[in-house]
């Protein structure tokens, strides 16, 4: 079914396709309840830089020199303010940077303010960044307080075409597994009932 993270993946793929060969980066984060332990603000921003290095042919010099500097000091990780600065410096020469954050509500509540402030700083300091956030509706107030006040909003609702696409694929899967059980009549019946229920929600 149409989950938030599928929308994120769709947005990411379409941006990548459109910007291929340009001096544009498409960076993203998938926040996840199951990985809350590792999802500190510094690791999240660090993961964006990791993608920059994965996508670039060679490691950007800014990152390399920060790494060597840290190594000399015993190999410690960066602190959040330095990670944010390093991010801004590294992407400075890019024409455009699309930044997609999926399921921002799945970052641990206590850690969200720090993360949202870091995103706010990035948006303010680097005019070449475009931020796309996805979250459940209840998080909206919190996001508005930090960075989405006045931002455009797309509300995701169950779309009839989405439901039809999804159902027909699932029914086809069932047909292949148990060809004797599914008939055209039954298939139509399922589709009709589901769509009626979905539109009457």
């Amino acid at each position: 079914m149409l989950t938030n993270n599928k929308i994120s993946s769709l947005v990411i793929d379409s941006l990548r396709k459109q910007t291929q060969g340009k001096n544009v980066a498409v960076l993203f984060l998938y926040c996840d309840y199951q990985a809350q332990g590792d999802q500190s603000a510094v690791n999240l921003i660090g993961a964006l830089l990791k993608q920059v290095t994965l996508q670039a042919r060679r490691i950007p010099k800014e990152i390399k020199s920060a790494f060597h500097e840290a190594k000399q000091k015993g190999g410690e990780g960066l602190r959040l303010p330095d990670m944010v600065k390093l991010f801004a410096k590294t992407i400075d020469s890019m024409e455009l940077v699309y930044l997609c954050v999926d399921a921002v509500d799945e970052v641990l509540r206590e850690r969200r303010p720090e993360f949202l402030r870091a995103l706010r700083q990035i948006i303010r300091d680097t005019p070449n960044v475009r931020l796309f956030l996805i979250g459940r509706p209840y998080i909206r107030g919190e996001l508005d307080n930090y960075l989405t006040k006045g931002a455009n909003v797309i509300r995701v609702v169950a779309d009839q075409k989405d439901i039809t696409n999804y159902l027909s694929q699932k029914i086809d899967d069932d047909c292949h597994q148990d060809p004797d059980l599914m008939t055209e009549e039954l298939k139509n019946d399922i589709m009709r009932t589901m769509l009626e229920k979905a539109s009457g929600m």
């Binding site: 079914m1 149409l2 989950t3 938030n4 993270n5 599928k6 929308i7 993946s9 769709l10 947005v11 990411i12 793929d13 998938y30 590792d38 999802q39 690791n43 999240l44 921003i45 660090g46 993961a47 830089l49 990791k50 993608q51 994965l54 490691i59 990152i63 390399k64 790494f67 840290a70 699309y98 399921a103 005019p127 475009r130 931020l131 796309f132 956030l133 996805i134 979250g135 459940r136 509706p137 909206r140 989405t148 006045g150 931002a151 455009n152 797309i154 509300r155 995701v156 169950a158 779309d159 075409k161 989405d162 439901i163 696409n165 999804y166 694929q169 589901m194 229920k197 979905a198 929600m201």
Partner: protein, 97 residues
């Protein structure tokens, strides 16, 4: 995960296979260290997993919304560079049981 396994295995194998592995994956030792130093998170793996489970056509309408297009094309220096997408986890799933 693959990176981690690879790094662990490095500790136990000789130099010859080490450089073989490096050539094979196309990443040198220092790059791996830098990746680990930056973050333990691996969003690119999750992305691959999610895009594999996506059904073609589902959600395409989001890309056609004017809010999306104007966000994507927005010029530097304009007031708003942020777009928020709000939806329940598993839109539809909640209603179709």
């Amino acid at each position: 995960m693959a990176n981690t396994i690879y790094v662990n295995s490095n500790a136990n194998v000789g130099n010859v296979s080490n450089s073989y592995n490096n050539i094979k994956v196309g990443i040198d030792e220092e790059s791996l260290q830098i990746h680990e130093w930056l973050s333990p998170l691996e969003p690119h793996k999750k992305h691959q997993d999610v895009r594999n489970r996506r059904v073609d056509g589902v959600g395409e309408w989001v890309l056609q919304r004017s809010e999306f297009e104007s966000w994507r094309e927005s010029q530097d220096g304009l007031a708003n560079h942020t777009l928020l997408c709000c939806g329940a986890q598993g839109v539809g799933k909640t209603y179709i049981r």
